[in-house]
């Protein structure tokens, strides 16, 4: 199913996150990712939700019902053509230093810490697909722990 990103601006007040997630549950979606941060306006947060849906009408429904909440100032869909979607990951790896270095050519990541000769903590940012590809090339078996932020999106 197609991945959709919905961008919403909402009041930074208690319970709003609960309302949004309750609506998404009620519509029987599983949230793919959900990120919230402050916006440029004080008191207003910016939320990016991704979920999977092929039916345009159903996505519009979710957006309309989000807009119905008095706390939601605006909501709209961001499509991949007209917006950037990015996420970041922090990964603890057990891997030979040389092997990690070999990936440098293809991927842009930062080594935050060498814990010992074969344990490293790195940081990588990029599109979801890019991070997936990095992990695939690295090999899942090298990952001790991974933390991904979920999608942040911005219109072009």
């Amino acid at each position: 199913m197609r991945r959709r990103a919905i961008l919403a601006y909402l009041l930074d007040s208690p319970g709003v996150l609960q309302k949004v997630s309750m609506l998404i549950r009620k519509k029987m979606y599983n949230v793919d990712t959900l990120t919230v941060c402050k916006s440029r306006k004080p008191g207003i947060s910016r939320m990016t939700i991704t979920l999977r849906e092929d039916d345009e009408a159903r996505v519009r429904q979710v957006i309309h019902q989000l807009e119905k909440f008095t706390e939601v100032i605006s909501a709209k869909e961001l499509d991949t053509e007209h917006s950037y979607w990015r996420e970041a990951a922090i990964i603890k790896l057990e891997i030979d230093g040389a092997q990690l270095d070999a990936l440098r050519g293809d991927y842009n990541f930062e080594i935050l810490e060498h814990k010992n000769h074969d344990t490293h903590i790195i940081h990588i940012a990029g599109s979801t697909r890019r991070i997936d590809a990095f992990i695939a090339q690295l090999g899942e078996e090298h990952i001790v722990e991974i933390s991904r932020t979920g999608v942040a999106a911005l219109e072009k």
């Binding site: 319970g15 009620k26 309309h64 807009e67 119905k68 909440f69 008095t70 100032i73 605006s74």
Partner: protein, 583 residues
């Protein structure tokens, strides 16, 4: 001033006159202040659910009067608040403005599982329009005014205020000031568009002028915006027939030549067939719910749809629109009716076709109503409602419960008074009638109010007879006793091979119940007893209970089976099957 006093000051400013509720530890301070203040009529329900429906009755019935009021109910924390949920969810489904105030445990012990603590905001959030929990006395007045604004603006709905006990008692700060004149709710995310945009309106008029087989839909939004008269002018001007949703009933006279009656699952043949053959649906203030549309992919396949609706999230939700007008029904009709581009057409062929539809069941129904008795010699609900309608000239207020009797009351009472029909529709909450009728009577004291319940629904909230007794509420209470949960039984007859699982039911002796509450009572078992009993109820000042012994095998037809399309409409009674059930 303390929080509780500010709460009451704000309620008073908002024109609240009645407070329905039930006390307890966490709301006692507010109740104490109500008593001291002495400006509200306090009505104690016998169960908190009753208070919610009484408050709904106030909101629903007063909106067409000179003094529209928002119903207010109050309960204590924990179990008190939880008992409000059904009535609040019901108000949300039916877009009824309502303010529910609950006491909460003190802020110091919130989230410690304190005695009678429940997460009221968490529970109510998905079943109401907005929730608030003020955490300082200084916030209360502003919060209450915002709550009223949200409850009544745009598509109305219930709002819950959960106020911790210590905040009720807290003194406001020294420099506290509040002026309602300067108050603007801070709701940057709350938009509503009462005025129709010019462009879609133009397109709508073009469609209306061009169409051959149009039907106007009258929904709750027409009642809610007091637009019945305008809708009628619009219909008369364009010669377009009108079908009603359950909540649109009574917006214009039921026997108007252009009226098709109710649409949907238990709607009339003429309404449903006209919708199937229509080339244009012009709908005002409704949401195309499944009881209205049946199977969506077969619904009004050849029709363009003009949808006038205040809530934008309802547009295109179930039925795709050709022209969407996100606006208030009254304002839209006002512009439409006055628009010089709108043309009248006689539409003779369409009206002739509709006459054919009207004839499909007319003879059968007339025969049934005149016969008045079922196979076992007991009374038919249709006959009782028809007689009530005749004897009151269709001018009284009807508050049905939920079930077969509700559909009979919707179909066979000849509504003449605008806004005279109040029913739990979207939620279909059994037990709503008696408490709702109490609220209705309090704000429409000069009109006669009939509460019509089944034996099932009546037993769900009959404790509210205590409220009727205490406040001497002049209600005409009808119980249509068919010994069954009739509506479910009807489904069992039609779709479960006549196996009556969980639907036969014993009733108490309603005569003894009535006398326990000091309310006069009549039992009506034969046709010739109907008119005198109704006459007695009409003449009597004060409450009376009329119990009608009804035929359990009566069915309300036509019926479109749940999930079926309009072509699946059942218009003929199936052959009686062998009786199942315990009795």
């Amino acid at each position: 001033m303390t929080g509780k006093e500010l709460l009451l000051r704000a309620l008073e400013k908002r024109g609240v006159r009645h407070i329905f509720g039930y006390t307890g530890g966490a709301i006692m301070p507010v109740f104490d202040s109500i008593d001291k203040l002495g400006v509200f009529k306090f009505v104690m329900s016998r169960h908190e659910q009753g208070a919610t429906f009484m408050a709904q009755g106030v909101s629903r019935a007063s909106l067409s009067t000179d003094d529209p009021q928002v119903g207010v109910c109050m309960a204590t924390s924990g179990p008190g608040a939880m008992n409000l949920t059904t009535g609040i969810a019901d108000a949300q489904m039916d877009s009824v403005p309502l303010i529910a105030v609950t006491g909460q445990v003190a802020t110091g012990v919130i989230a410690t599982d304190a005695f009678q603590e429940s997460d009221v905001v968490g529970v109510m959030m998905p079943i109401c329009k907005q929730t608030y929990m003020p955490l300082e006395a200084d916030e209360i007045e502003k919060t209450v005014h915002e709550a009223f604004y949200v409850a009544t603006t745009g598509r109305p709905g219930p709002v819950v205020l959960d106020i911790p006990k210590d905040i009720q008692n807290q003194k406001v700060s020294k420099d506290y000031q509040f002026s309602l004149e300067n108050f603007r709710p801070n709701l940057p995310g709350f938009f509503y568009h009462p005025t129709p945009a010019r462009e879609p309106l133009k397109q709508a008029i073009e469609l209306i002028n061009r169409c051959e087989r149009p039907v106007i839909f009258c929904g709750h939004g027409v009642i809610g915006s007091n637009a019945g008269k305008l809708l009628q002018s619009f219909a008369e001007k364009t010669r377009i027939p009108v079908a009603f949703t359950l909540h649109g009933l009574s917006a214009m006279p039921a026997d108007h030549p252009l009226s098709l009656g109710m649409m949907g699952m238990h709607g009339t043949v003429e309404a449903n067939r006209a919708i199937s053959e229509a080339d244009l649906l012009i709908s005002f203030g409704m949401r195309f719910d499944d009881r209205v549309t049946g199977k969506l992919n077969e619904y009004a396949k050849n029709a363009d749809v003009i949808h006038v609706e205040i809530d934008p999230s309802e547009i295109d939700k179930n039925v795709a629109t050709t022209v969407a007008i996100n606006a208030d029904a009254y304002r839209t009709l006002h512009v439409l009716v006055g628009d010089p581009m709108l043309t009248a057409k006689p539409r003779r062929r369409w009206h002739a076709r509709i006459e054919e539809f009207r004839r499909v069941m007319a003879a059968d129904l007339r025969e049934e109503i005149e016969g008045g008795l079922g196979v076992d010699g007991k009374l038919l609900m249709k006959t009782i409602v028809s007689q009530l309608s005749e004897m009151t000239q269709g001018r009284d207020i009807v508050v049905p419960d939920v079930g077969q009797h509700q559909m009979m009351a919707a179909r066979f009472y000849n509504y003449q008074t605008p806004n005279s029909w109040f029913a739990s529709g979207g939620a279909g909450t059994m037990g709503a009638s008696l408490p709702m009728a109490i609220g209705v009577k309090l704000v429409r004291p000069d009109e006669r109010v009939w509460s019509i319940s089944g034996d099932g629904g009546f037993q769900m909230n009959m404790q509210e007879l205590g409220t009727v007794m205490e406040h001497k509420i002049d209600l005409k209470i009808m119980i249509f006793n068919n010994g069954y949960l009739g509506m479910v039984r009807q489904w069992q007859t039609l779709f479960f091979d006549g196996r009556y699982a969980g639907t036969p039911m014993l009733s108490p002796d309603y005569g003894l119940i009535a006398s326990a509450y000091g309310i006069p009572y009549r039992k009506i078992e034969t046709l010739d007893q109907i008119a005198p009993a109704i006459q007695e109820a009409i003449e009597l000042e004060g409450a009376i209970i009329l119990e009608f012994v009804c035929d359990p095998s009566e069915v309300i037809l036509p019926m479109i089976p749940a999930g079926g399309g309009f072509d699946d409409m059942i218009v003929k009674r199936p052959q009686p099957r062998k009786e199942g059930g315990k009795r």
